[in-house]
Amino acid sequence: MIEISDKDIAVDELRQQMMDPGAGGLCVFEGWIRNENDGRKVRCLEYEVYAPLAISEGEKVLAEARQRFPHLQAICVHRAGLLEIGDCAVWVGVASAHRDEAFKACRYIIDQIKVRLPIWKKEHYVDGDSGWVNCERCANV
């Protein structure tokens, strides 16, 4: 399941949703808003998401992860809107019988989401300037 949300990500509730008697473990990645990027002090960050395609493309990513690294359940939630430093921008959880599939599927999902989903972020800097982030590093994944 993938969800785009304009509200705080409820990480404890998500963890509960992942509970499965057949699961031997849960691998979670949380992406947070940090206060610096490329040497510039960041004040806050704005995510623009084209939800219809972010969801359909995200579902494809989850299906690929399920096929490559069989697991019990995967959930991804990505934020839209204005976020402050320390906020959780993206949450990926994968529950599986064994840790190897959970780690690999979680890594695959977050890597693909960064480069494939129509999501953009605009950084607002402490000095009052702002700019769209070009995820050049992500393009090389």
Partner: protein, 80 residues
């Protein structure tokens, strides 16, 4: 000539000063739409890291566009 609805997102929308426009264009592919709108709005962004969708389906730059299609132009994405 084809009637194409072009939608712009993020930096493309800010650069064009609008989110959507309907244009009469002499185009065959999604790349043609990208190039013609890039010229129209004096954008210097290359297609390399950009993405395109047609009628809400992800597409390739060489995908054929038809009369009445909606072409969505996505600047480099940066989720996560």
């Amino acid at each position: 000539m084809k009637t194409i609805i072009v939608r712009y997102f993020a930096m493309f929308r800010e650069h064009a000063g609008l989110g959507q426009e309907t244009l009469r264009l002499d185009v065959a592919t999604a790349l043609d739409v990208f190039e013609q709108t890039r010229s129209r709005h004096q954008s210097t962004e290359p297609s390399g890291h950009c993405k395109v969708a047609i009628n809400d389906e992800m597409a390739d730059w060489d995908s054929v566009v038809n009369d009445g299609d909606t072409v969505l132009l996505f600047p480099p994405v940066a989720g996560g």
